[in-house]
């Protein structure tokens, strides 16, 4: 099972960087670029493209192939596959590669990739064998082989010092590449201050019907870690209520048997940022594999209510949406309500206002421009995606917010989406109220600083 290569495109669909292709026909990568660009151009809704594009054979005797592609900010990464390779393999590699790029260059953009194209080429070479098989994908091991572009390196190279010489001669020191006995951890790390941080990020995904009844809801959690620990620490992380974590997935460093036995995380962490584990929160603790699992019992209450009244008329429509926070003691932040008004929608007129309830004073924002006044709510219309975006920065407990407006369409029957997409954040909060019992570090003598915090985000579809 191997992929054919990778192609990085900028947002105009032109290739920035390509890995070498072993295919006999030089047209092969071009065919794939063309096929994907066509598919993207044909999409009725921007972004709504089949992630696997079928590419017909170039000439008789060739086999048809397919192209997996992922959009990541303004870069699109293509992964052509042929033969009987699972597209999932392609996507898995794409995900890994994007993570590596982020690790190296921070937020991904075509400009940074162009700036560092030589490093990207080296990364491609080290992560992907020319036969299409992934080689070294652990960021810790990679950092030894391909030096991240840092100001320090540039300074050194400007100063004429040859940093690479150390790689060449470093084999005897036990700190060169491939010298660590743990594939995911760099050997011989030293920090003056040892720290380790864990972020528990939980996402609520739910669909609510027009009567406000949740049809499906699930909370998916992720434990993101950032470790800056010297030597080879052996960590043991345990939770007070770990039985609510089901359907877990782990970083390779986690000892699976320890989890199976005592529901504790026992691991030697990689250096730097990594995702320790992913889980689903189930209040009843029943994993989906078990026979008596009932998804309805696992429903998590939605922290807000939406009352909407949408009226569709000839050549347009009007709407009146009220958002009320149902959370006690905490406020919902960065609320974004998205309403797709359908093709051709224009002439949007809205009033975003703060309703009654909660603390603070009400206010009215914007007649036409959509800029929020002092009310903390604003709206904007994305004419490319035909999406009306209503943003509320901070909704205190049980406060209520309102958006009224109208739109018009050229066709007689307007066809907006029948659902509102709501996103929100809740700071220092987890749906599962997962509590860390202890974090014990053995194998090293120092006392590290340990930080743990939670964050909840929501992604709810509210039908009307």
């Amino acid at each position: 099972m191997g992929i054919d290569g990778l192609i990085l495109l900028d947002n105009t669909g032109r290739s920035i960087i390509q890995s070498g292709f072993r295919s006999t026909s030089p047209a092969y990568p071009l065919l794939h670029i063309e096929a994907v660009n066509n598919a993207v151009a044909k999409a009725t809704q921007p972004g709504d493209v089949d992630p696997v594009v079928y590419v017909s054979a170039y000439s008789i005797g060739d086999t048809p192939s397919a192209c997996c592609h992922v959009q990541c900010t303004d870069v699109r990464i293509l992964c052509p596959i042929s033969g009987n390779v699972d597209p999932l393999f392609g996507f898995a590699f794409l995900q890994t590669f994007i993570e590596i790029l982020r690790e190296y260059f921070g937020p991904l953009s075509a400009a940074t990739l162009k700036d560092n194209f030589d490093v990207v080429y080296q990364l491609l070479e080290e992560t992907l064998d020319s036969g299409g098989h992934p080689l070294t994908t652990s960021p810790n091991a990679l950092r030894d082989i391909v030096l991240p572009p840092s100001l320090f390196n540039k300074l050194l190279s400007v100063a004429g010092a040859n940093i690479n010489a150390t790689i060449n001669s470093g084999s005897g020191l036990g700190s060169g590449p491939f010298s660590s006995p743990i594939p995911w951890r760099k050997a011989g790390l030293k920090y003056t201050s040892n720290e380790v941080y864990f972020d528990m990020v939980e996402e609520l995904k739910a669909i609510v019907n027009r009567n406000g009844v949740p049809l499906s809801s699930s909370v998916l959690g992720k434990i993101e870690a950032n470790s800056r620990l010297s030597g080879t620490p052996d960590c043991l992380l345990s939770f007070t209520n770990s039985s609510v974590l089901v359907d877990c997935a782990f970083h390779p460093c986690v000892r699976l048997s320890r989890w199976a036995r005592g529901k504790t995380f026992s691991f030697v962490p990689p250096d730097g940022k990594f995702i320790l584990a992913e889980y689903r929160y189930s209040p009843t603790g029943s994993s989906s594999g078990s026979a008596n699992a009932s998804p309805l019992k696992d429903n998590i209450p939605i922290p807000f209510v939406i009352k909407s009244n949408v009226e569709l008329l000839d050549h347009g429509g009007s709407f009146d949406i009220t958002f009320t926070s149902r959370l006690n003691g905490r406020s919902l932040e960065n609320i974004i309500v998205e309403f797709n008004l359908g093709s051709g929608a224009s002439g949007i007129k809205c009033i975003a206002a703060r309703g009654t309830g909660g603390l603070g004073r009400g206010g009215v924002s914007s007649m036409n421009a959509g800029l929020g006044g002092n009310s903390g709510a604003s709206w904007a219309f994305d004419s490319r995606r035909r999406v009306l975006k209503w943003e509320i920065n901070n909704a205190p407990p049980s406060s209520s917010w309102n958006l009224q407006g109208s739109f018009s369409t050229p066709s007689i029957a307007p066809r907006p989406s029948h659902a509102l997409q709501v996103q929100f954040d809740i700071q220092s909060y987890t749906f599962s109220s997962l509590k860390v019992e202890q974090l014990k570090i053995t194998g090293e003598t120092y006392k590290p600083y340990k930080g743990i915090r939670g964050r909840a985000i929501g992604n709810v579809e509210w039908r009307w």
Binding site: D48, A291, A419
Partner: protein, 794 residues
């Protein structure tokens, strides 16, 4: 005074120093600025206009300064990146292959791999350097040298590559051994004549490898060059199973693929229990599983907890194709977790779920809420989810799923809308209780303002009404509306139904069932339902502006009504009018249909203007015969959407399942052996070692050097630290499951039905062929005629 002077000189010196510093700094920062913007500069030289001439680049490559060389190499790689041909510099680049600077060297390698094919003679110049590098002290250099050496597509060096592979396969560093394994398929591609030597290297050196780092690549090599020589795996099988969990994620995928194929080729088919297939899963049901298959399943189980979607799917594949159905619940949770991974992964995994649910819908039916369509899903995902929900229909959840389908009919995408409405039809075919609510929903949809909704709803209504009528009145009692009243309803709303195909459909329904009203109507012409003639009148009026599909059906409707009521004067006149319009229509299909039907009706007494009526010879049919021709053999047939996915040959994890088209090389998994190969073949000295208490093999991470790590020494320990012995014992925990299950097995009574699996397959095949033939007969119906007419047009 002196002090003053002293101070002055200090300050003077200081300013001078400051200026010096500033000078050097600015010099350096200028360099720095160039360095920072360099990448973009290289890639967009054309725009900036500072493109260097080929001669300058050559000069740079030949210079002694590393910086110049690096600059030139970056320029070349940028040229490659822009799709230009940079092969003219090959000679100069090859000289730098031994550059001490690793960065230059890596760029040289990238260049070499792309152009070596075009300049084989010059490429040979570099071979010597690579051979020297193979003996370098640094494993990174050794691995890189082998990778480039095997990647150069020059057939001449085949035997050198084989030698290099053999050398590296026994390298102390697992990374180099990994590179050796990956070089094997490339060497084979280069020259197939090396196959026997390569197989020998695999079987005698590579497969014996004990490092989890390199074994994944060994599986790659094996699959690539000798996938059928599974007999070579025998002595390693058990060790490979045990080590699976320690492999890196990509290696796990490859190894599971290999082990599954081994199991299907060499092991006995697991015995399954008939009672299990249909109903609820019972854990620990009596099954006979070979010890070695059990070992595989137990080793794969922990792998489900990987974060890599490809690994989870590969593990699912092992369970789905390698384990009896009682094991299947184990992959339910992990596979559903993949669904939340990313929208790309979701799109692929949903297709796998479709394949799994064909055999085991009960596994996922309780979790149907996790497959509800969100309005921000991709269009493909929405459609797949609808298909999947159809598969998961049960007596408990049909009403909820039905409500969902009705909801999806409001989607913004037309294809999703029609898919959802068709799903309503399929839903009521599977669950007869759903028919009343389906009908109510469809009738509301007909009033919709959207063309797609109306046309799809009419199509599904037609299908529903037909099946209802062909089933007789078995369900008539349960319905709020009788099928005929639905047709009547449709007929009255013909003006609102604007979509051509839907309109044609309604016309056909009206014609077909106009005569089947139980009691003859009082107001209208005798023998015809009272709503039918008015439809004909409206269509006669608008005939000229109708789509040709509608015209064809209008003619048919006219003929049918005439046969039903030949004595009615109004109908007679309407018919004559329509037939004469059809006679002069622009579309030849319409003219043909008109001509055929009018001559059919001669025996019934249709008067057709024009002289041809008398002159026409041939057989004249009586009214009863015409009626038979026009009305019979049109009973409703189930039009199951026959997608590529339904043929049952698609495998989990294949490319074809996602593209929906047959892809070449869809190699099927081999079927089980009825009698497996001798299990003692798999015995090896390892087994004895595993049974013995684990030897502490920890290497403390700090003080090890490479020279100590020969292949003979135990694998690199992935769980280092002080607690290593205990953690190895902990990994052994997984094998303990074996005894756990063994105990359960004993408790249950034996009851097996070995041929059940096969029987099921056969019956499935029969069903599908029956469905196909049913479709063929269906083409005789009116709809089919309309479709075949389209073909004539082209």
């Amino acid at each position: 005074m002196a002090g003053q002077q002293y101070l002055n000189s200090i300050s003077e010196n200081a300013t001078r120093l400051g200026m010096r510093l500033q000078e050097t700094l600015s010099e350096h920062t200028r360099d720095l600025a160039i360095g920072r913007g360099s990448g973009a500069g290289y890639l967009e030289t054309g725009a900036l206009g500072d493109e260097k001439t080929p001669a300058m680049i050559r000069k740079q490559l030949d210079s002694s300064s590393d910086r110049e060389k690096l600059d030139a190499m970056k320029r070349l790689v940028a040229l490659i990146s822009k799709g230009r041909n940079a092969s003219e510099y090959f000679a100069q680049v090859v000289k730098n292959v031994a550059a001490p600077n690793l960065e230059i060297r890596k760029l040289v390698y990238i260049y070499l791999l792309r152009y070596a094919e075009h300049e084989p003679d010059l490429a040979l110049l570099s071979i010597n350097t690579f051979q020297k590098d193979l003996a370098d002290a640094n494993p990174l250099i050794r691995a890189m040298a082998l990778r480039v050496l095997s990647g150069i597509k020059v057939p001449m060096i085949g035997s050198i590559v084989v030698l290099a592979i053999r050398k590296c396969a026994a390298d102390p560093s697992p990374y180099v051994r990994k590179a050796a394994a990956l070089a094997v398929p490339k060497c084979f591609e280069l020259d197939a004549a090396h196959l026997p030597t390569l197989i020998q290297i695999i079987s005698t050196i590579l497969l014996r490898d004990r490092s989890p780092l390199s074994l994944g690549s060994v599986a790659v090599a094996f699959q690539a060059i000798c996938p059928t020589r599974l007999d070579l795996i025998h002595p390693h099988y058990r060790r490979l199973c045990r080590i699976l969990v320690d492999l890196d994620e990509w290696g796990q995928v490859e190894l599971m693929e290999l082990l599954l194929r081994y199991a299907r080729t060499m092991l006995v088919r697991p015995q399954t229990n008939l009672s299990e297939r249909g109903g609820e899963e019972k854990h620990g049901d009596e099954e006979e599983i070979e010890k070695d298959l059990k070992l595989l399943l137990d080793s794969v189980e922990p792998v489900f907890q990987s974060r890599n979607p490809a690994v989870v799917l590969a593990a699912t594949k092992v369970f789905f194709y390698g384990a009896p159905p009682s094991y299947w619940p184990k992959f339910v949770g992990p596979v559903m977790r993949l669904n939340t991974n990313s929208k790309e992964v979701e799109r692929v995994v949903l297709v796998d779920l479709l394949i799994i649910t064909r055999d085991a819908p009960h596994l996922f039916a309780p979790h149907y809420t996790r497959f509800l369509v969100r309005s921000d899903d991709l269009t493909v995902v929405k459609k797949t989810k609808i298909q999947l929900l159809l598969r998961l229909l049960t007596v408990d959840n049909w009403s909820a799923i039905l409500r969902e389908f009705i909801e999806y009919a409001d989607d913004m995408d037309d294809t999703v809308v029609s898919e959802a409405i068709h799903a309503l039809g399929t839903c009521s075919a599977h669950v007869p209780e759903a028919i009343p609510s389906c009908l109510t929903a469809l009738i509301t949809m007909i009033k919709s303002r959207y063309d797609t909704v109306v046309s799809s709803a009419v199509m599904v209504l037609k299908y529903l009404v037909q099946t209802q009528l062909s089933m007789g009145s078995a369900f008539a009692g349960t319905l709020a509306q009788s099928p005929l009243s639905i047709i009547a309803h449709l007929a009255r709303r013909i003006d609102d139904i604007r979509h051509a195909q839907a309109r044609a459909c309604v016309l056909w329904l009206v014609g077909q069932y106009a005569g089947s009203e139980e009691k003859a109507s009082t107001s209208g012409p005798e023998g015809i339902a009272d709503w039918a003639p008015d439809v004909l009148r409206k269509l006669a009026q608008s005939f000229g502006s109708e789509d040709y599909l509608v015209k064809l059906q209008t003619i048919t409707l006219a003929a049918k009504l005439f046969v039903l009521s030949p004595t009615d004067r109004t109908i007679n006149l309407l018919c004559q009018y329509i037939f004469s319009l059809a006679r002069y229509d622009k579309n030849y299909d319409v003219r043909d249909r008109g001509r055929m039907l009018s001559s059919l009706l001669v025996g019934v007494g249709l008067q057709i203007s024009g002289p041809s009526a008398e002159e026409r010879g041939g057989v004249v049919l009586r009214k009863e015969q015409v009626k038979l021709v026009l009305f019979e053999g049109k009973s409703g047939t189930i039009v199951e959407k026959d997608s590529f996915l339904d043929d049952g040959k698609l495998q989990l994890g294949s490319l074809g399942r996602v593209t929906g088209r047959p892809m070449v090389m869809n190699d099927a998994l081999p079927d089980w052996l009825e009698k497996g190969v001798e299990s003692s073949l798999r015995d090896s000295e390892d087994d004895a070692r595993v049974n013995a208490p684990p030897v502490p093999t920890a290497i403390s991470s700090a003080g090890t050097t490479h020279s100590q790590k020969g292949i003979a020494t135990p694998p690199i320990v992935l769980t280092p630290g002080v607690s290593t012995p205990s953690s190895i014992a902990a990994k052994g925990q997984w094998t303990d499951l074996e005894s756990f299950y063994a105990e359960e097995e004993k408790e249950e009574a034996e009851d097996d039905d070995g041929d059940e699996d096969e029987d099921e397959d056969e019956s499935e095949e029969e069903e599908s062929s029956a469905a196909e033939s049913a479709e063929e007969t269906e083409s005789g119906s009116e709809e089919g005629q309309a479709e075949s007419d389209v073909i004539h047009v082209h």
